[in-house]
Amino acid sequence: RLPTEPPLLPAQRKEQGASPKTDDAADRSALMLRRFLRPCGGQSVRRQSTAVQESTAVQVSLEPGDFATHRLDRQPEAVAWTSKGELLDYYKLMCTMRRLEMASFAAYQKRQVRGFLHLYDGQEAVATGIQHALTNDDSWITSYRCHCIMLARGGTPEGILAELMGNETGHMGGKGGSMHFYNKAQNYYGGQGIVGAQVPVGTGLAFANKYKTAPGATMPVAISCHGDGAANQGQIAEASNMAMLWKLPMIFGIENNHYGMGTSTKRSSSNPDYYTMGNLIPGIRVNGQNVLAVREATKLAKEHAAAGRGPVYLEFSTCRFNVTRMRTLPCPLKITKDIALNNAIASKDELEAIRLQARVDVEAACERAKAAQPPAQAELLTNIYLDDDGKDEPPSYIRMPFSGDSVSAAEQQ
């Protein structure tokens, strides 16, 4: 007779005090039982799947080729646990990211957004996977290709689009623009304009995380994301040396989308295996288009770094769809859909509903963003100096502009 309830997941068993070591056999049998619990009798997996509950644990297999390691004593397992609720959350976030980038590009073409625009469509699984492997106690810093990471770390489509349009309801009040999004409440440090500059800064975040933790205790980690275009910079080698020397809880994330601006990795890198560039620092390369693989690889990196064993190089092999216009790698949204369908986690209709809702939500956000006002000119001078009492006022000895001596026709008119 088959049991009517699915066996506990490893995490659930741990909570109940079971020892992990004895459970390998239990895990395998749990997997077998799950397969038998699926509706049988020739039902297509593409119909409404009513048997799977929101929080039912499902094991998804990954490809062995999804991972490669360098000087790492553990291999990531080619499996990931998820549930319907969780996977659909990931899918919703990734659909929102995709629509957000498409809306940004459309607005840019209409010149409603000016300056630079670095899009993340095609890379959604990387940001989503990282966010769900870490907690908001872990610090995250990235490059100018930062809209979707802002979305993952507490941003909204409206706040992001309004910022791109330079309006006051933007997350940075119109001061930052595309390359400068931050969220202190969720430990998100931007949003940095200069290629590679975020990596030493990220190492400093890791330093602080180590310094504030009692010796021996688990540390919050810091992850900085840079691209293949930055990967050969000296400052990255410098930062990684110190991270290793001081055993900082640092993950050097490398979003390898195979093009640094217009130059392919073939032309720029004598060693294209960026996850090995840490030399003695262990490295993992993961298929950046599979959100579960990204999550598992990041979890492994976090475990290593948080335990005080030093930094990890974590390379995500990915692709940016919009600018290169070459989908040389599969779409991360499609892969997530396939996982959901092939493992009977959700139906085609449920997925489609999520995708359409994301579109509706982002379009509405775009309209609200467009309707907002530009920031007042007085905002120019806020957040530069604080006075002795910590108020947002310049100290009396700083001569600020508009003091009557300088000319500003904009003010006069």
Partner: protein, 437 residues
């Protein structure tokens, strides 16, 4: 362990490869040589006080680069093949556009200057990010296809390293050109640029280091590139000794200045305005190298305005030139009459005080439309020099329209307050003309 002691031990063992007396003699000789050297050094005269200044530039500021000798025969033979047909075709095409009156944009004008100079002198090399794709403004277009991937090389996104690398090439007999995709990225190479400026003097004049850096950058109104892509790098490098600093906002000037700077045997940097690289076409003064130490009177105030004390000298550069030419009709049409001597500061260093003096002798009033911040900017340097050298010509304090000391914001509503523009210039002219002591 002392390596000399180790050597002595090993040499005098092994059945006397070197006898201990010969070792002693050698040591005594070395000691005597050094003592003589110390005595020589102590007795030597100090260098003349002007030596550092004399060695500032291998080529004097007023050098006429049209008179530079052609590279020698042996320099012309190179083991690296050149696709001469390809480069000559491109050169011919660009020259025909200039000759038939269509004109060239700034990016293409620089491309022409670079291709001509690379063909003329086989020692010239070029480096840029995305070089094989033409970079952002076609400045290095077809260089790699013509001259090969080593002589015209793609660079990775790391200005510190590739400016330094070019410095090495320059010291080792070559004539490197480096394009900064945006001049601000040169901040990463500040140490290298400083080193470049010091090379000739610090080496006692042994190493000429003919580095040319070109880059589009700066801050235009409504540019929306954010704080980290709007810095006035031209202001940051003003203080580097030994560096010649020029600006151009038109194709004609970019072409002529680039040719000179490439032929110059010291380091030079040519700034261009990032928003004006591809929008206006002008014909060039083909085959002419322009002086690196002269600014240019673009518009001369009428004698009538000078006589009625309604003329003002305006110094500007990069985007300011476009702003000033936009403001000019309004200034001319102002009730009561007003006019300007508009001077483009093509040479930021060395500064052309002679042209400024000639203008101030007519107008006695000066506005600097400056694309740097109030603190530490180009305008501050020029203003100080004018006050020191031309004070008696001034009827009013120098008026400086500079960027506020605030990070350049992204939103245009705030950016227009930071970056001074045509309307600010019009207002400043009126204020200066109404100035009462």
């Amino acid at each position: 362990m002392d390596p000399l002691v180790i050597f002595e031990d090993k040499a005098s063992s092994n059945d006397g490869l070197l006898s201990s007396s010969s070792l002693e003699t050698a040591k005594a000789e070395a000691k005597a040589v050094v003592k003589a050297a110390v005595d020589f050094a102590k007795k030597s005269e100090p260098p003349k006080p002007t030596l550092a200044k004399d060695l500032e530039y291998p080529d004097a500021p007023d050098t006429d680069y049209n008179l530079k000798p052609e590279p020698s025969e042996e320099a012309s033979s190179s083991p690296h093949p050149v696709d001469v047909e390809l480069v000559k075709e491109r050169i011919a095409f660009l020259r025909s556009r200039s000759e038939d009156g269509t004109g060239l944009v700034v990016g293409d004008a620089l491309n022409l200057a670079i291709l001509e100079e690379m063909l003329r002198d086989p020692k010239t090399t070029i480096h840029a990010e995305d070089l094989q794709a033409g970079s952002s403004y076609d400045i290095p277009k077809l260089t790699q296809q013509s001259f090969g991937p080593l002589r015209a090389a793609d660079e990775i996104i790391d200005e510190g390293h590739f400016i330094g690398k070019a410095l090495g090439e320059g010291m080792n007999g070559y004539r490197p050109i480096v394009e900064l995709m945006n001049s601000n990225f040169g901040i990463y190479g500040m140490a290298e640029l400083s080193s470049a400026g010091n090379t000739y003097a610090t080496t006692g004049g042994q190493f000429k280091m003919p580095l040319t850096v070109v880059g589009a950058g700066g801050t235009a109104p409504n540019q929306a590139l954010g704080a980290e892509h709007s810095q006035p790098f031209h202001a940051y490098v003003m203080g580097i000794p030994g560096l010649k600093i020029c600006t151009a906002s038109s194709a004609e000037m970019a072409y002529g200045l680039a040719k000179s700077m490439i032929r110059d045997d010291g380091p030079g940097i040519l700034f261009l305005p990032v928003k004006n690289m591809k929008d206006q076409k002008t014909p060039l003064n083909l085959d002419t190298c322009l002086p690196l130490n002269k600014c240019r009177l673009i518009h001369e105030a009428s004698q009538k305005s000078v006589d009625s004390n309604k003329a003002v000298t305006v110094l500007t550069y990069l985007h300011g030139v476009r702003e000033a030419t936009t403001a000019l009709p309004e200034i001319l049409n102002t009730a009561g009459g007003s006019d300007i001597d508009l001077i483009e500061l093509h040479s930021l260093k060395p500064l052309d005080m002679a042209t400024i003096r000639t203008s101030l002798e007519r107008t006695h009033k000066l506005i600097i439309l400056d694309e740097s911040t109030m603190s530490g900017g180009v305008g501050a340097t020029v203003s100080a020099a004018v006050s020191e050298q031309l004070y008696d010509l001034l009827d009013a304090p120098v008026k400086r329209l500079a960027m506020d000391d605030a990070p350049v914001p992204y939103a245009s509503s705030m950016e227009k307050a930071v970056v001074k523009r045509a309307v600010d210039l019009q207002l400043a002219v009126q204020q200066l003309l109404n100035y009462q002591i």
